[in-house]
């Protein structure tokens, strides 16, 4: 017991601030639930959050287990990042309250057999919350949380300027599908090639995370992500795609007709804050032959929990909806 107390005071001090009591925490402004085929994408820029006051407030809403995990990490930056990630998840989900306020601290989570976290929506005996799904991703400079209703979701963010240690094509040869390798090989400019690699990585990662079965259940080599041109009926590989409504599709390498693939996955690829690529993947219901897939309706919000939200319109310079 005393050990926990010591740890708790240690954690207070890691942000160089004594214990700060918030007796009346301001409520989190509620938001509307996402509609079907709609995804909400929330993100935090950790470098913008410097107030130790605020960070300590965030610490207050975490579970003891989450605090333990943060305590065990090494380095201020890692601790801060982990803290912000848990805070983003808890405060975001708590805002989708229907009839009553939800205390972010009270949310419980569980992991499926493959380790994918889900919310335990058995909130109270008399009522259940809507089947919200979420997924998080973080880099050192951006932490994101995607939310949907009734559909599994996977997201991944990467820094645009990220350098690979290995040679891009060597990496693709080892981990990507043959078609994807071929696509990358055809790009002569190494900088464009690197960027397309990163985009492809985020899309593949988002897909695997949406499936929720872990990297090993859907090895990257076994599926191809590419674009389909509705107009021409051809399948193009980026960056040669020039179409009105480019659509990102995923195909199994063994089963290109997708007969055995199951599910209908929708992708969105964004460029965020000029500095990151973000991919979002969610499942759409089966559509009939010849029907056009409805593009995913996306709401983007940059947030500093308990302080402010900024709804980013896709027309803004800060975001470019690249594909999907």
């Amino acid at each position: 017991m005393s050990l926990l107390r010591d740890k708790s005071s240690f954690m207070m001090n890691i942000f160089s601030f004594g214990r700060n009591l918030f007796t009346a925490s301001s409520p989190l402004p509620p938001v509307q639930l996402p509609a079907p085929m709609e995804a909400h994408f929330w993100y935090i820029l950790p470098d913008e959050i410097k107030s130790t006051n605020l960070l300590n407030r965030y610490l207050e809403i975490l579970s003891p287990c989450e605090k333990e995990n943060i305590f065990r990490m090494s380095g201020e930056q890692l601790k801060k990042r982990a803290l912000l990630a848990r805070t983003l998840v808890r405060t975001t989900l708590a805002r989708y309250q229907m009839n009553r306020q939800i205390d972010p601290k009270s949310l419980k989570f569980w992991k499926n057999i493959h380790g994918k976290p889900e919310v335990d929506w058995q909130y109270a005996d008399d009522w259940r919350l809507p089947p919200l799904h979420f997924n998080i991703s973080h880099t050192s400079s951006l932490i994101a949380c995607g939310v949907t209703v009734g559909s599994p979701i996977g997201i991944d963010v990467e820094e645009k300027e990220r350098r690979l240690k290995n040679d891009t094509l060597a990496f693709a040869r080892r981990y990507f599908s043959p078609l994807e390798l071929e696509m990358l090989t055809h790009i002569s400019d190494p900088e464009i090639q690197r960027k397309e690699f990163i985009k492809l990585w985020t899309l593949k990662e988002a897909y695997v995370k949406a499936l929720g079965k872990g990297f090993s259940a859907s090895p990257f080599k076994t599926f191809t992500i590419r674009l389909r041109d509705h107009k021409g009926g051809h399948t193009h590989l980026p960056p040669y795609m020039i179409s009105e409504v480019p659509e990102i599709i995923v195909e199994s390498c063994d089963d290109p007709e997708n007969l055995g693939f199951g599910g209908n996955w929708q992708f969105v690829l964004l460029e965020l804050a000029g500095s990151h690529y973000a991919a979002i993947c969610l499942e759409q219901g089966k559509i009939n032959e010849g029907e056009k897939t409805i593009p995913v309706n996306l709401t983007l919000r940059k947030t500093v929990p308990y302080v402010e939200d900024e709804c980013i319109s896709s027309a803004a310079a800060a975001v470019a909806r690249l594909l999907g």
């Binding site: 990220r162 240690k165 290995n166 990496f171 080892r174 090993s216 090895p219």
Partner: protein, 128 residues
Amino acid sequence: MATRNVLLKYLRVQIRGLPQSARPSPFALSPNVLLRGFSEEVKGCFLDKSEVTDRVISAVKNFQKVDPSKVNPNAHFQNDLGLDSLDAVEIVMALEEEFGFEIPDNEADKINSINLAVDFIASHPQAK
């Protein structure tokens, strides 16, 4: 080189472990060791764990993103070294290069700390 090291380390352990009075020559103790050292079986031998640890640690330290001071045998890629999933895959690739064998995806998935990498490699006869 690797087989020589394995052989030497095995022999060294033998020498240290023996009481002084016991025998005239350490080599006389286990002739099997010496014989085995020159046989084909050594090629299928497992690498010594401490050697694997050293090589894994230096491969990880080689990553620009990694703070070398944080790299110790217990380091967790995500929680201690701040690496993400792409970094983890890059590390697996670097280890494949270092040890000369391919790590299957379903195993690579589980390697998220130095210890796990070492355990996996040290238990694989194809590791060089």
